[in-house]
Amino acid sequence: MKPALFQSQLFPSRSVPSERVPSERAPSEEPRTGIVRKMVARPSQLRAIAAVRPRLQAPAWRCLEPTQPEPRQVSRRDSSVSVARVSREGERVRQSGPDEWLPEAAEFVHRAALLVAQGLGFERCRSVCLQGPRSVLSVTDAGPSTITGVAGPARQLSNVLRNRGLK
């Protein structure tokens, strides 16, 4: 005689299933305990799963988010703007960006532009802006003792071109 605890009080006619070896239990007979256990699928079930979700067999992790565009491969010239601040004596005050040549070039352009200005009857040259097919070089007076040189892609320096009347 089984203890009353194992018998349903609401449905006395239903009896507790008799104990069996777990591997012999049919899936429909599983008690709904909320506990998850590993199911061993039969070969026919595996084939059906594979037909519906073939990615289950894939060995690597996948990102479920929509495909992100790969980072654009950009050339050095495309990537950044170089800025150099140089004293009138040619000493580097500050430099950033990939163009190592910029401080020397800025100093040379400034000195030559001053001579051009004087040759045309002016006292000084405030700025020089040169636009190439894709890039821009700009050299500007940045105060009484310093010059600023900027070089970079025309796309990123469009405001400089606009200010100088080149765009």
């Binding site: 070039a105 051009v116 002016f122 040169l130 890039s135 821009v136 070089l137 080149l166």
Partner: protein, 113 residues
């Protein structure tokens, strides 16, 4: 001479004082400048302009257009097949009109000057 006449067209743009053409090597090819600009001085200026443009080219920025801002005036530079067209103008010049006219003039300049 056709080049002189073309340079004269630039003076129709208000604020333009004069113009000259420089070869890529720095030689002064043609000029249409006010009388006070002596040829020798202008030749020196032309060679300095060419040096500046060469410096830019040597560093990977071959200039097609350029502006030298002198405060009270400007020197606008446009590349063309034979060299550089340089236009001297006052600071109040209409840059848009100048750009359009200078491009037309540069395009019309003969390849042999």
């Amino acid at each position: 001479m056709i080049a002189q006449r073309l340079l004269g067209i630039l003076e129709d743009v208000s604020g333009v004082l004069g113009s000259f053409v420089v070869a890529p090597e720095g030689d002064l090819l043609v000029r249409s400048m006010p009388a006070e600009f002596e040829r020798a001085e202008l030749e020196l200026t032309a060679s300095r302009v060419a040096r500046i443009l060469q410096c830019s080219s040597a560093n990977g920025i071959p200039p097609q257009d350029g502006v030298f801002d002198f405060g009270e005036g400007k020197l606008w530079v446009r590349e063309f097949v034979r060299g550089y067209l340089c236009v001297l103008c006052s600071s109040v010049v209409d840059m848009r009109s100048l750009r359009l006219t200078a491009r037309l003039v540069a395009r019309g300049l003969p390849s042999e000057l």
